[in-house]
């Protein structure tokens, strides 16, 4: 069932929406509305207030109702930050590139030595490029898939193997992959459980699936939970998991949990401060919005919040970003 928003969005276009539910516990689970807000970053749906619900069984957060597939072209505008990451020259993004190179080392440590490597939701191919040039993988064994035609084409023009496809529509060969990466992707898809089942099928025994995604139980998520938390990324983040719910979802797909790590997420802090400032009014608000602009972020707040997250990760193993590694054990799936 779909319905049009009452508020016209993105000029004369209206966004069709559909009801959502917890991907782990289903529509029968008790849930409550815990937050609401507009698209603070791109205003793709005007001032429309979207609602975030919390499943009371597993604490997964989800956008309800959410945009339908037909509305994706509207909620991901052409200037969406992930589509042109590699062209951005700011210091903050170069720092992100350094962090990505560190992540690649961790991913490669999980590679079982055989099988293809795929970055799902590859954007402009930044991670695929890093993996392909790591020297640790066979030529032509690394590629990415990306649902945005513009982003996939941009990557191909730079010589990076990024194919235009959605995870659900891609022709996955069973037992073919040694490593699958879903970096900040699972929260965007409309059926995460189906995606994990597809990933489980595509992995060879011993292969690993790496998921990086916001953690709805992080400290800043709690602080700004009513409205302004950057991790909501309204209306593009459909689901926000926590370590327990994501691990249970992976187990339901037939995978076993290898490890869960808390990752620094300074951007969510910055976006939260920016969104708060955007509704505060007065002189302080414009200062907040300038200091905590989200795209590209300034180096000083980025460094400050990275330090805060590193400390909370070390002390409590919780931030508002997490990496969950799942493995397909031999003889399963």
């Amino acid at each position: 069932m779909t319905r049009a928003l009452s508020t016209p969005a993105f000029g004369a276009t209206t966004l069709a929406t559909e009801p959502s539910c917890c991907p782990l516990c289903g529509p029968d689970a008790l849930h409550r509305a815990v937050a609401s807000g507009p698209d603070f970053e791109y205003r793709t749906s005007g001032d429309h207030e979207w609602a975030i619900h919390q499943c009371l069984v597993c604490d997964t957060l989800y956008l309800n109702p959410r945009p339908t597939e037909a509305a994706l072209a509207v909620i991901y505008p052409s200037n969406y930050y992930a589509f042109s990451f590699s062209q951005t020259k700011s210091l903050a993004y170069r720092a992100k590139g350094y962090v990505d190179r560190l992540s690649v080392r961790k991913y490669l440590a999980l590679y079982p030595g055989e099988g293809l490597v795929c970055d799902i939701g590859a954007g402009d191919g930044r991670l695929v490029d890093l993996l392909a040039h790591s020297g640790a993988l066979a030529p032509n064994s690394v590629y990415g898939i990306e649902p945005s035609l513009a982003a996939a084409t941009a990557a191909q023009q730079r010589g990076i193997d990024v194919r235009h496809a959605t995870m659900e529509g891609f022709d996955w060969q069973p037992d073919s992959h040694g490593l699958l990466v879903l970096q900040q992707v699972i929260e965007h898809v409309s059926d995460p459980a189906a995606c994990l089942r597809l990933a489980a099928r595509a992995l060879r025994p011993g292969g690993c699936l790496v998921l990086e995604t916001p953690n709805g139980g992080g400290f800043d998520a709690r602080l700004f939970h009513r409205r302004h938390w950057g991790g909501y990324h309204i209306p593009r983040h459909f689901f926000l998991f926590n370590p327990t719910s994501l691990c249970r979802l992976g187990e339901q797909a037939g995978l076993s949990v290898v490890r869960v790590d808390a990752l620094p997420s300074p951007n969510f802090w910055i976006q939260s401060m920016h969104h708060y400032g955007s509704e505060r009014g007065g002189v302080g608000a414009s200062l907040l919005m300038r200091l905590f602009r989200p795209h590209p972020p300034r180096v000083l707040p980025l460094a400050l919040f990275t330090c805060i997250d590193l400390v909370t990760a070390a002390l409590f193993n919780t931030t508002s970003n997490m990496r969950v590694v799942l493995r397909k054990e031999p003889g399963r799936c």
Binding site: D28, L30, L56, V57, T244
Partner: protein
């Protein structure tokens, strides 16, 4: 209204099952509960416990009849009050709670007498248990021990299968009594304690699910062989009325749909 046989059955067995009498009310209450949850900043008391899977094993929404008209209407429904009056004499609703057991992860509730939790001063107390959803043997059905309402049993706190010393149980009982009935705080002081209690218990059971019984009491002695528990499989709208001393508990929910029941406890006046 009840028949003579139904009244006699309640007096002899300590409970009575009324089939399908409140089907319409059960539907209204189910909708009212979800409406309350859809409206941010609900004013009722809410608590939950976690199970070994890391998922919630139970939800409790207390004090609904004091803040949500649909629940207030049901608690004072002339049919319900009429039935309660026939069994108890003139009575007033004293405490209410929706107990929800999530699909697959819903935990079981050990055998207990409700009056072990409250300082009412007499035994003329009964609870109406209304099935809002189906309650099957594998989805959290209620069970009761017929004739167990004749005496007060000793209750203990049981953690990980081990009974804790009676003094520990008494101390916990004292702490719980600060929150009034535990799940239906009446004033701001009780609400503060109740929030604190729920926050602590939720946090503890999330981290150490084996401590889920910390806030619960259960009958310590062995029940007589003649008093085997009777399972009551219920459909939405079925009501079980049981005496404040009737030993009862409920099964775990292993099915794919949640089990909700609305309980209102009445105390005889005068």
């Amino acid at each position: 209204m009840l028949t003579e046989a139904e009244i006699r059955e309640f007096r002899e067995r300590g409970y009575l099952v009324l089939r399908g009498r409140f089907r319409e009310q059960a539907g209204v209450l189910r909708e009212a509960l979800q409406e309350m949850l859809d409206a941010p900043g609900g004013a009722v008391h809410y608590g939950r416990r976690f199970g070994p899977s890391g998922l919630a094993a139970s939800h409790r929404f207390g004090g609904l009849m004091r803040s949500i008209p649909a629940f207030a209407d049901y608690a004072r429904d002339p049919d319900v009050l009429g039935i309660v009056t026939e069994l108890l004499g003139p009575a007033e609703p004293f405490r209410d709670v929706v107990l929800s057991k999530p699909a697959r992860s819903g935990g079981k509730l050990a055998g207990h007498q409700d009056l072990a939790y409250w300082d009412v001063g007499h035994d003329r107390v009964l609870t109406t248990w209304l099935a809002m959803t189906p309650a099957l043997e594998a989805s959290g059905a209620l069970w009761l021990i017929p004739g167990s309402h004749g005496r007060r049993e000793v209750h203990r706190t049981v953690l990980g299968g081990r009974r804790l010393p009676l003094a520990f149980t008494r101390m916990l009982r004292l702490l719980v009594s600060l929150t009034g009935t535990g799940d239906s705080p009446r004033n701001s002081g009780q609400r503060r304690w109740a929030r604190l209690k729920e926050g602590v218990l939720e946090g503890i059971t999330r981290r150490w699910p084996s401590l889920a019984g910390l806030g619960d009491l259960q009958v310590a002695g062995d029940t007589p062989a003649s008093a085997a528990p009777v399972l009551v499989v219920a459909e939405p709208g079925d009501m079980v009325l049981f005496h404040g001393l009737t030993v009862h508990g409920s099964n775990a929910n292993r099915l794919d749909s949640r089990r909700d029941a609305y309980l209102v406890t009445y105390v005889a006046q005068g």
